[in-house]
């Protein structure tokens, strides 16, 4: 039976890196004594001590800023936003300070910002957002959105070792829902590489994060109807692994880009634009996007269900595309 949850995978990756490198430390609100709002760092204080697991005041901007400063001195800080929604409070530090130092004056900023994002947990407008698209528009940042426990562990380790600022969005609806058996031996997952989650020939679904599982269910349903669907899991949403996306679409000639984040200005547009520009001759049908509609994330279940993209919506659109 699969044993490691997505949450535990992140914890393990973080733990291993802290064991490996004494310069790695964690900073954030309620991460030490409490172990984090989602308990990702439970037990860290006891093991690594309060110098390496630092509870801060409620100051997202200072948390990011302090991480940058510690990075200047040679540490490798891992900062936590209690919810990804609060990352807007540290926005300037991320997009103007962290992202631009290397380009401007050669100063690497080796920080990781972990942030639990995503909906489906009745969190309402401020505990459900998917802020990745903002940061995917900021040269100098790297933006990761792992969907599997394997990738979550492998990517958090790569993020910590990376010498540039990395945003690590953990989908909170996956924390305890996803379980996998992970390799015994150490491994990392490279930043900037998408994965073929499922092979197929008739249609590509390009997605990431929690939507991987909706795509996967849709692919299963469509397989029953005789269609072979390929799923590309971006994993890193910026910088984008264009090659893998294009290779898939050149093979299948049809593509759906799927994300939980709201439609307009989401990463979907970027992916579609690259496909349209660079694989135009291969396309047998319009490239379509499926995403949450352009509204805040509503709280009440029936509204939130209507808001979130689902396998059923994907299947319906896919059928249309496959018959195009």
């Amino acid at each position: 039976m699969a044993t490691t949850t997505y949450l535990e995978a992140i914890r393990e990756g973080l733990w291993e890196e802290m064991e490996r490198d004494p310069n790695v430390f964690c900073i954030g609100e309620d991460i030490a004594v409490y172990g984090g709002a989602f308990k990702v760092t439970a037990g860290f204080l006891e093991h690594f001590g309060e110098k390496r697991v630092v509870d801060t005041p409620i100051s997202e901007s200072a948390i990011v800023g302090a991480a940058i400063g510690a990075g200047f001195i040679g540490l490798r800080p891992v900062a936590e936003m209690q919810f990804a929604d609060f990352i807007t409070c540290g926005f300037d530090q991320i997009v103007n300070f962290a992202a631009k130092c290397r380009y401007r004056w050669g100063a690497g900023v080796p920080i990781v910002i972990r942030a639990p994002s995503g909906g489906g947990v009745h969190g309402g407008p401020f505990h459900s957002q998917n802020p990745e698209a903002w940061f995917a528009h900021v040269p100098g940042l790297k933006v990761l959105c792992p969907a599997t426990a394997y990738d979550a562990k492998g990517l958090i380790k790569s993020a910590i070792r990376d010498n540039d600022p990395v945003l690590f969005f953990e989908h909170k609806a996956l924390y305890r829902r996803i379980k996998e058996d992970l390799p015994e031996q150490e491994y990392t997952v490279p930043i900037g590489k998408a994965a073929i989650y499922r092979d197929g020939t008739d249609l590509s679904i390009i997605t990431y994060g929690a939507m991987l599982y909706e795509a996967s269910q849709a692919a299963g349903d469509l397989a029953a109807e005789g269609y072979s669907v390929e799923i590309v899991d971006l994993r890193t949403v910026f910088p984008l692994d264009e090659e893998t996306v294009l290779a898939s679409v050149r093979k299948t000639a049809r593509a759906i880009v799927l994300h939980e984040d709201t439609l307009t200005g989401g990463i979907g547009g970027e992916v579609v634009a690259r496909i349209t520009e660079k694989a135009f001759e291969y396309l047998d049908a319009p490239v379509v996007r499926i995403a949450a509609p352009d509204t805040p994330v509503p709280y009440s279940s029936p509204l939130e269900q209507a808001f979130l993209p689902t396998a059923a919506k994907v299947t319906a659109k896919a059928r249309w595309l496959l018959q195009y």
Binding site: D55, P57, P125, T295, S300, S301
Partner: protein, 343 residues
């Protein structure tokens, strides 16, 4: 949208004309007990029954703050509650039905299911909905107060916040702007000594939130936050100050968070003896003792108030449970005043 059509509601034991000491005491008790009862039902019943989903943050033990402060407000004042100030909504005339329906994500809730728990507001009743980002409403309260002065009224705003919220940049920017502009804002801190799991000394290196007043050139005072009369009088001073054009005034109410941070938090990081200590300072019991001592009310009358509240709450919950869920067809409504073409 439900939010903009206030319900009619007459609180059972809180007619505003009762402004004798005894009358006011009864109003204090009513609102404090109503908040206690409503929040208790939400956290200990509806949440456990799975009827309320998501986060639940209650103000148990802190009821004297929204009530003592809230009863100094005038109808045109604009209130910016924090997340442990439910009584302010009742004082503003929000019906308990609307609050329970809010928590249960129903169409009859104050936000019609759009948002949850204490994230509710009502323009008509001049009470704002917070956003999650703590202290974000401090600059908003400052701006509202500036507008009131601009319009030549003597209205003021009330901004509530916790000790931990003072660490946020927005808190600083908002208080500073209000101070420079001499905006009529009453700043009310519930210093319950914790911010989630973080104790005061990891939040700030000064002894009191009130120590921050001089940094903005504004008066600040410390008050026993479990003494509703003390909160009331201090807030009255603050409101008079603000209303007379002298600018913001800060009140730090010392209290204690008698629960975990939220319904799922057992608060094992809080030393148990502190809960015991502060239980003895319970603001409701304390008020009741005072009422009996001073002859404002007999035990029977007090019991009646509680009984009335329980009934009101029973009825309100029943109503809320019968309120329909919002229609998913409305999902795209009200993002803008007018829906843009093609959406």
């Amino acid at each position: 949208m439900a939010a903009v059509r206030p319900m009619q509601w007459t609180p059972t034991a809180a007619a505003p004309e009762q402004d004798s000491e005894a009358g006011l005491s009864r109003r204090f008790l009513y609102y404090m007990a109503l908040m206690r009862e409503a929040e208790g039902r939400i956290q200990d019943k509806l949440y456990r029954q799975g009827k309320v989903l998501g986060g639940v943050y209650i103000g148990r033990g802190q009821e004297a703050i929204p009530v003592g402060a809230g009863l100094t407000t005038r109808p045109n004042d604009f209130l910016f509650p924090s997340h442990r100030d439910m009584a302010l909504y009742f004082i503003r005339g929000v019906h308990p039905r609307e609050v329970f329906a809010q928590y249960m994500g129903r169409a009859g809730g104050l936000t019609g299911g759009r948002d949850g728990n204490m994230h509710m507001g009502d323009m008509n009743r001049r009470i704002s909905a917070i956003i999650s980002a703590l202290a974000a409403w401090i600059p908003v309260a400052a701006g509202a107060a500036m507008a009131m002065r601009y319009l030549g009224t003597s209205d003021i705003t009330y901004a509530f916040f916790g000790d931990g919220s003072t660490s946020r940049g927005d808190w600083h920017e908002g208080v500073n702007l209000a101070a420079v502009q001499k905006a009529p804002v009453v700043l009310i801190c519930n210093n319950n000594q914790w911010a989630y799991s973080t104790p005061l000394d990891k939040q700030m290196a000064c002894a009191h939130v009130a120590d921050r007043g001089p940094a903005y050139g504004i008066p600040s005072e410390i008050v026993d936050g479990n003494d509703v009369w003390a909160v009331y009088h201090a807030t009255q001073r603050a409101a008079d100050h603000a209303r007379s054009g002298l600018g913001p005034y800060m009140i730090e109410c010392k209290t204690f968070r008698m629960t975990g941070h939220s319904a799922h938090d057992p608060a094992s990081y809080v030393p148990a003896h502190l809960f015991e200590e502060w239980a003895r300072k319970d603001p409701i019991e304390r008020l009741e003792r005072l009422m009996v001592e001073r002859g404002y009310a007999g035990r029977d009358e007090i019991d009646d108030i509680h009984a009335g509240i329980r009934q009101e709450v029973d009825e309100a919950i029943a109503w809320a449970e019968n309120s329909p869920y919002p229609d998913p067809e409305t999902l795209l409504d009200n993002v803008y005043e007018t829906r843009p073409a093609g959406t």
